[in-house]
Amino acid sequence: MALTRREFIKFTGLGLAASSLGMLGFGAAGEAQAAAVRPFKLTHATETRNTCTYCSVACGLLIYSMGDRAKNARSNIIHIEGDPDHPVNRGTLCPKGAALLDVVHAPTRLKAPRYRPPGGTDFKEVSWDFALDRIARLMKDDRDKNFIAKNVAGTTVNRWTSVGMLAASASSSETAYLTWKVVRSLGMVVFDNQARV
């Protein structure tokens, strides 16, 4: 397209006039007011109560997941905050608790048992059956070897002192009770159920 100097200036002026009209608001006339505030993201999320995994303070959590548990919807945790009805924390959380979402979705999170054979250098993922069988086997062997039925005075003590157990720190009373029963029934004496108290 060949343009004379005069035509070029005319077109430029026209363009300027058009964009000025747009700037004056004629272009956006009738446009609906866009929603200003970010929409609340938990409106229909599923709310689940749970206990924080971190320490033995055991703060109450509200875990929000997307989806309403319909058959075809797969849940995914999208937000975690304190449970205001929980007597321990009444809605508050510590910095670690407030960042729990990133623990849930951490790429380094342990999701299956891992096993490093004696002399091995790497951990490899194994099945729960393998892991539990192996733990049971080793416990049985050790207990058979080191179980102390009577002390020097001849009193029955039924102690198994060579193995200890650390259980979950944020256990409920029921879980703690069961753990205690299982561990003590084996004669195990070194045992902690609340890691930081």
Partner: protein, 303 residues
């Protein structure tokens, strides 16, 4: 509580028109940060990033517990750690949660040239409407507290929203909820002032004679207030301004200069129009034509 639509605007950036503020029976909200109860755990920071889906890249240790080192487009609130040796020679660790103060008279809004990019709701929240933001950075200059940060990713300005999305549906901001010591409280501005008074009485009885509320009148009061043990010296708290004020440059350019400039433009247009009517267009005379030819010839001759 409102649902924070345009009907709730009481102020809108770069707009000569005052918003109609159709909803007038709204309680003003406020966040009260009691510095004397803060233990610096940063739960508020975690909760803020979690709720707003922001994650700052892992940085480097800079010699302070402050982490990250500064506010950023993805760090809307930050615990600032200051070490202060008092008159008795004792160390006081003054930890202040920094973030938007939600001023009654917001400098960012005044400085903003993008219509509707910064708005103030009737409940007092000053919010950035990102899709209208042009990323010019005037709000950074206009802010008396140095809060907004421009994103290098989408070139828009970001800061604390006082969780307007939570407040809209009747919840408290995420940082307030998380705070394990109750150092951050949320409620109506009147209730928060009352709460602060009680705390100040308590602090004074514990020997902090200068304890007081930080709700600076220079910016018309704020919707984020502090209870300080040294209210006479706010600058001890990592440079909290003693007398916060909107930069005189912003006040001048957006205040006095704006109508003057408009009048200037109008005057130029009017004068131009009348000049054209009286004198007519600028025309090329015979002499001009001849001179032009001569210059052209000369240029063509010179190699």
């Amino acid at each position: 509580m409102s649902d924070l639509q345009s009907q709730d605007y009481i102020r809108r950036s770069a707009s000569t028109m005052t918003p109609p503020s159709a909803r007038s029976h709204e309680d003003e909200v406020a966040k009260l940060i009691d510095v004397s109860r803060c233990i610096g755990c940063k739960a508020c920071q975690s909760a803020c990033m979690e709720w707003n889906d922001l994650r700052q890249e892992v940085g480097h240790f800079e010699g302070s517990y402050q982490n990250p080192n500064d506010l950023s487009p993805s760090v809307w609130t930050l615990m600032k750690f200051a070490e202060y040796e008092n008159e008795q020679g004792n160390l006081e660790w003054l930890i202040r949660k920094d973030g938007c103060m939600h001023c009654e008279d917001p400098g960012c809004l005044k400085a903003c040239p993008a219509p509707g990019a910064i708005v103030q709701y009737a409940n007092g929240i000053v919010d950035f409407i990102s899709d209208k933001c042009i990323g010019c950075g005037y709000c950074v200059k206009g802010c008396p507290f140095d809060i907004p940060r421009i994103s290098k990713t989408d070139h828009k300005s970001y800061k604390c929203t006082l969780c307007s999305d939570r407040v809209t549906v009747g919840l408290e901001p995420a940082c307030v909820k998380a705070c394990p010591t109750g150092a951050i409280m949320f409620g109506t501005k009147a209730d928060m002032k009352h709460q602060a008074e009680e705390r100040i009485v308590d602090l004074k009885s514990r020997g902090f004679d200068k304890a007081g509320l930080y709700d600076p009148a220079e910016v018309g009061g704020t919707h984020v207030m502090y209870v300080l043990h040294h209210a006479d010296k706010p600058s001890l708290y990592s440079g909290l301004p003693d007398k916060p004020g909107i930069s005189p440059m912003v006040e001048a350019w957006k205040g006095v200069m704006k109508p003057l400039a408009l009048a200037g433009i109008a005057l130029a247009t009017v004068v131009g129009f009348f000049h054209y009517m009286i004198k007519g267009p600028n025309e090329v005379t015979e002499a001009d034509e001849a001179e032009g030819e001569r210059v052209l010839d000369e240029t063509e001759k010179t190699p």
